[in-house]
Chain length 398, copies 2
């Protein structure tokens, strides 16, 4: 009995592969500061739990495959507030943004088809693309200029007859890069001119730390058939444990194809959808407050990282992640060592080693992704632990 070639290509998640070591470290009594996973400590809005409690049936039944009608309407109304008029039929509710991505890849890629992604990128994209037998064509970026990627020539140099889609994350995970309006329009034009799908992962849309609010690729009416937006309640509303996302597109043909996979898995969790109706109905002021908190957190982390000798870190503009280059030989080895061999007053720290965010072999080896999702004092302590760890690790390995 064999396993499939595609699953051999899938890697363990860099955010989650050290989970067994962390379990062991906790068992030994260590406290871990988790900068490895985008799991905010901001309370989930109570409206979520209230809506779940109000679920009005003694039978917890299947929701319709495309999504609960109330949630489809709530997502539509959220976009209406962003001046993006949608019809509820432009939306499919998915089990997190993850499932939206999986369904898209299965619906557009034949084995050997290519997707262009600026790297570093969210590593789970690889799992979805490999699942469909697709190939990632990574676009090179440079840490020293904050991983900027909006360069027409670089996109076009990667396009060939197997290219099916461009995939961007805006704001970026893991880089925090935010596209300007002109840059969005340029990328949209590339997709249109080369007849490609443009998959825009906008789950971090509400997390930007300057300016007036982000645009969405859905605004480009002239590319309505090209644009597929991935959305999620998890991060936006600090409700990661609710697996509710959405695939949004005006391309009815493609959405109809994805619906077959929705029907195949029957439905998204009914209680989570009931709760998400309340979340998507929150007033924009909810985001202002979180934005202010995350800006402080970003500033804390960036400020303290820059005090560590040898660390390179450009200020991220959005999301709640950043990439940092560390003065260590191998971030993977360093992370394992932090869990097994290091502690300061019984505490240690986890991040996500950078290599897993690159498709190009050998890249990212001394980079890490940090999710600044903890309280400022916890973040400060976590970066102190990182600094201590770097010093001790390099002494031991000198």
């Amino acid at each position: 009995m064999q396993i499939s070639e595609r699953v051999k290509l899938c890697q363990q998640s860099p955010m989650r592969k050290f989970y067994p070591y962390s379990v062991e470290a906790v068992r030994q009594g260590k406290k871990i500061y988790h900068l490895n996973i985008g799991q905010p400590d901001i309370p989930t809005p109570p409206a979520f739990f209230d809506a779940v409690s109000a679920y009005a049936s003694d039978v917890l039944s299947y929701a319709p495959s495309p999504g609960a009608p109330e949630l489809l309407d709530a997502v539509r109304d959220y976009y209406a507030k962003l001046n993006v008029p949608l019809d509820s039929s432009d939306i499919l509710i998915t089990t997190g943004g993850s499932e939206a991505l999986m369904m898209v890849m299965l619906s557009i890629l034949n084995p050997g088809d290519e997707v262009i992604i600026p790297e570093p990128f969210y590593p789970n994209y690889a799992a979805f693309i490999h699942a469909a037998g697709g190939v990632i064509r990574p676009m090179d970026t440079n840490p020293a200029v904050g991983y900027w990627y909006a360069d027409r020539a670089r996109f076009e140099a990667l396009i060939n007859e197997r290219t099916k889609a461009l995939l961007i994350t805006n704001p970026g995970n893991p880089t925090g890069v935010i596209l300007s309006e002109d840059e969005m329009a340029m990328i949209k034009d590339v997709a249109k001119e080369h007849d490609l799908y443009l998959i825009s992962d906008e789950v971090y849309r509400e997390f930007y730390y300057a300016g007036e609010g982000l645009r969405t690729m859905l605004e480009f009416e002239d590319a309505a058939d090209h644009v597929l937006v991935v959305d999620s309640a998890s991060k936006r509303f600090s409700a990661c444990g609710a697996r509710v996302g959405a695939l949004i597109s005006r391309n009815k043909e493609l959405l109809g194809q994805c619906l077959k996979f929705c029907q195949g898995r029957l439905a998204v969790a009914s209680l989570d959808q009931a709760g998400a109706v309340a979340l998507y109905g929150l007033e924009p002021a909810y985001f202002d407050q979180n934005r202010a908190e995350y800006k402080l957190r970003r500033d804390t982390v960036v400020g303290k990282l820059r005090e560590i000798p040898g660390v390179i870190c450009e200020e991220p503009k959005g999301a709640f992640y950043l990439m940092a280059t560390l003065p260590v030989d191998d971030a993977d080895k360093f992370q394992k060592w932090l869990l097994t061999d290091f502690q300061d007053k019984g505490e240690t720290v986890m991040f996500a080693p950078g290599e897993g965010f690159y498709a190009t072999p050998g890249k990212g080896k001394n980079e890490i992704r940090i999710a600044y999702v903890l309280k400022q004092e916890d973040l400060a302590r976590a970066i102190d632990l990182l600094a201590l760890g770097i010093r001790e690790y390099n002494r031991e390995n000198a």
Copy 2:
């Protein structure tokens, strides 16, 4: 822009493809008796909702990718009561049984690899197999002998060098067929001798209407590496809207590969998992009571179906489905007509047309699947509506 070849192969779900027509019929004021979807009307155990309410955090956070530890233990303990000793690490919690099947297919099939399935079978298997580029090799059965399929020669006649797995559903959906212990052992031996995976979908395990309780393929220690069991809370506990299932196997290598996909989609819904801990902890008496109720329902439906001239229907032994052959030209056309053109006292009925349960083209055209998941009086009325519908439809189409 093109869509993928695999998604073209996927069909609309026969259980859900008439959903738009049903929405329209309801809008016109019709009441519909739903025999099309396995959505029981039995109340979800209150313990589920209590456990959800007791979720003890103000942050709804991600569960671990393999599943919440408490739920892994609860599933293990459920199997211990069936005298199947498992380790929690033999289990991955999945978003319904559906996701377990999807992950298995992605992890074992290369494009062109084959899976043998007795037909008629649960149509969504096709979506998961096509997603992986696999090919269904259907095994013929006969309605007149109740779709029996446990024939070694027929299995072996279908095995070739591309065969990777046997897939069985026990008890059967849509047929209600239950395997005897000897039959289970024979199928296990075939898998073992030909070095195949044996995927055993046992989500209906507690629904059997004679004898002393069903065995599970997990009991065959001599085929531990071959057997993959798909499990789900949805049907067993009348909690379909909770998307919680499990993939269970002692094949650590394969489970480790599937874990990559678990990490890719991050986690299963936290609240649903909290609720499912309570469900898997219910005493076996819970099943006895449901079993008695479903037996009465089965007897009602079978009795009334056999009164309709021209209907063929063998008594199903388990699950809560049956296949019936109707005296109509085309069950698909007939279902659409029932929603758009038929009513009796403002009421009509939905079933799942049979063609979608077959991989062999042209088969099942005059068959339907009935889910006997309603109260007896509702089932009786639904079958009366079916009888009336058949008469009127055939008069109009004479």
